[in-house]
Symmetry: C2
């Protein structure tokens, strides 16, 4: 739903959101930028400026994937600086900077840029579970982020794995190690049904800010309900000071909007399997569809057993975008073609350090295989250190596109989504989609889009290194 | 859904439920008995015996409305004794005995009968919020239940109003006052989204047993998910020792069953309005439909403001069946016809003590009005003390019905549901409904039933005392 909701469906709630008493309003970044140009024909920069105007008293907040910005590769530092500057200039206040591998080097440049812009740099710990992830390790990472100048810390639990006791222990440990004044924001999804309790324990341990969603947009893979959190704290030494009447109106607004997007509702309300499988729901369905497309839908159990082994070989990366796709696809390949017989280019890069460092050592045998197959040396430096300057060529390429408006913002849009931006620039003048539509129209659009996707889907292509050469391997259903 | 699920849809999960490690399995009583004969054409006693057979290692548990048994009026003591005896004989182990007004006198006879049968008598505190309900008051009530011989206590939060801090305070207070050995079971619905946290705090305070539902049947107006509770406690000093594999199979079973009953899904996922309005969701929709039927749908706000006033006049009864209906209907009457100008017979009875004692004093002016309108004296004795013996006449009436099988069980079915039992006895031989049906068939049945109900709905009848005479007042839509 977050990737389909039209700006017009949020505008009316803004006055109440602005005055309800939130610490910040996360309203941009993450996957929404991609969604704006891919599905909504909305200019994401214009959306940011609109929020700035409609929420004059609020701190606007975004999620930023460190050196990846909002794209899916590492960018050279100058691009990072320019993206942060433009975001600040257009109205962003709080930058929650994270890296999928928890490698501080991938967050450093973005954090420095945020501080230089005078905005709030929030350093992020991605929470996951593995034999190597310990409370002490998370406390140590918090220290590294503070050393890098983080003005606050986020404990980010994207898979709803943060149980109450570790939530308490990590927050308390950080406070006791670095001082009670260190601001800690706790961000838990609700998927496993347990994380409102984790927020309670985090608050008892001293957490300063926690993330919620208004009740009519809450639960499932989303967040815990704001109003329930308010009720949770009544009678305790903690309080939210939120305006209940405004919360009620925000709730009613989105309760009215939600039915329009029913085609994008998640079927998952509670899922605790992830505690044992370590496989987030989205990753599982991706792997299932990969297997089915190769006529091997019955081998999902084998793949599920393979995932933790591949994850361990890679040094236990948290499984989030993009590491979840990289590990999941390699697990599928291992089951279908034999253990590491065929390696994806991305997995070889992960094994050779091109995404950064994980918490654990990588399996040296698999590193050697990756080195041999990819004909690349392993690296230990910060991946972006190897990138040549790219801004000027991005400007050249972007400005050559039909419909480009000549701004740095458009260059950044092209930089992050070179496949999608050309179409968006061309169609931008048509204005936003998903405006004034009924649920039935939204459903019909979605059905049409997915049958179009099926119709054009040929053999699936993988970028694979095999016998030392990089190949595009195509796999066809038979 | 609880009132429509066919026995056949539960049978396959029983082996796993029996061995999963639950303290008890609540599987009978409450509204299910009524539902068996009203909607399912299943003999509730046969259902109980089937559960006994399929769950040989489990304690079977039921909810019993004290002197009301599973019906909607007070029964004479002999009927109470016989119902408890027959339930025990057919396999029931744990009787959770409650009274809507928290009047211990309405629970005493049932509790004594349970103890005499050698089964487990659990005394129940219905949790509600009012200016008069205090932690100290609940602790005192716990003592009264223990004095009556309760072998354990239930803290029953049917409206999901129990917030974490009072949950902690009440459980801790009971333990500190009456000893750490007093067993406390905490029962919270999930409606307000906050009660899994309340269970956590109750456990920290020493609660021994908490109630949950398997995740695929959890949340909304139901209970918190079992698997989330298990995850919640990992790493804490508390543990559940439940068998995760069996929980997974129970979940999968009911995930498969649930779509069949989609016509009976609740639209409510989270609702925190009840904290301020004190009006449970079911009660609100009842009042709305009463108002609409009288062409006054626009006056719901006035009625919502009237409810707390009527509740206060009555001495702050918890709002559960039947007190929620009695208070809600009187609030509607007050708005439509003037304050206490017309009183329902039930409300007059409530004001005159015929349902028992509430926590607070009743408004003497309204008592006087009730006395004048109903031409009845207020009472202070236990209501059932005024009832003449009724078993023999129940036997006579029940055995005269076509299809009656001559057992005491059938007499009890007739005693509790004299309007429904005759039809059930006659149709019983046809066997269970809702067996082998698809979701579409279930939906079609439901649509047919509700349009039939609309078709036969004439003017609405109320039992009203007016100017001292008891009348049936009929109200027609215009």
């Amino acid at each position: 739903m977050a990737t389909r909701m039209a700006m017009e469906d949020m505008v009316e709630a803004c006055a109440d959101i602005d005055a309800a008493g939130y610490w910040s309003v996360e309203c941009w970044g993450g996957a929404t930028y991609d969604a704006c140009i891919r599905y909504l024909n909305e200019d994401p920069w214009k959306r940011l400026r609109t929020f700035r105007e409609l929420l004059p008293n609020s701190k606007l907040q975004m999620l930023l994937r460190g050196q990846n910005l909002l794209g899916y590769r590492h960018y050279e530092d100058d691009v990072v600086d320019r993206f942060v500057d433009k975001s600040a200039e257009n109205g962003m206040d709080v930058f929650r900077v994270f890296d999928a591998l928890n490698d501080p080097r991938n967050m450093a440049r973005a954090m420095a840029a945020v501080k230089k812009s005078g905005k709030h740099a929030q350093g992020t710990i991605c929470y996951t579970m593995s034999p190597l992830h310990t409370t002490e390790g998370y406390i140590k990472l918090a220290g590294q982020l503070l050393d890098m100048g983080a003005q606050s810390l986020a404990l980010k639990d994207m898979a709803a794995l943060l149980q109450p006791q570790p939530a308490y222990d990590i927050v308390r440990g950080i406070k006791e190690t670095y001082g009670e004044d260190v601001q800690i924001n706790v961000h838990c999804h609700a998927t496993t049904g347990v994380t409102l309790v984790s927020l309670m324990k985090a608050i008892e341990a001293g957490a300063d800010v926690v993330d919620t969603a208004i009740s009519s947009m809450s639960l499932g893979p989303g967040h815990n309900p704001t109003e329930s959190l308010v009720a949770m704290l009544e009678g305790t030494p903690y309080t939210t000071n939120l305006d209940g009447e405004r919360l009620g109106r925000i709730r009613d607004h989105f309760a009215g909007v939600r039915p329009k997007y029913i085609a994008f509702e998640s079927a998952t309300l509670v899922d605790t399997d992830i505690f044992s499988s370590q496989i987030p729901g989205g990753m599982l369905s991706n792997m299932e569809s990969q297997l089915k497309q190769q006529g091997a839908g019955d081998r999902i159990r084998e793949v599920m057993e393979e995932v933790p082994l591949v994850k361990a070989d890679a040094g236990h990366p948290p499984l989030v975008t993009p590491s979840s796709q990289i590990v999941g696809t390699q697990a599928v390949f291992n089951v279908l073609m034999g253990k590491y017989k065929v390696m994806t280019g991305e997995f070889a890069d992960l094994m050779l350090g091109y995404y950064g460092e994980c918490i654990g050592p990588r399996n040296p045998e698999v590193v050697a295989l990756a080195q041999a197959q990819a004909k690349k040396e392993p690296i230990t430096v910060r991946p972006a250190d190897l990138l040549p300057p790219e801004w000027d060529s991005l400007v050249t390429d972007a400005t050559a596109l039909e419909g480009n408006d000549g701004t740095d913002e458009d260059v950044l849009t092209y930089a992050m989504f070179p496949g999608v931006a050309p179409g968006f620039f061309k169609a931008r003048a048509d204005g936003p989609k998903n405006v004034g539509k009924t649920a039935a129209q939204m459903q019909a659009d979605q059905d049409a889009a997915s049958s179009a996707a099926k119709a054009v889907r040929g053999p699936i292509k993988y970028n694979v290194t095999m016998g030392g050469r990089e190949n595009i391997v195509t796999v066809e259903m038979v």
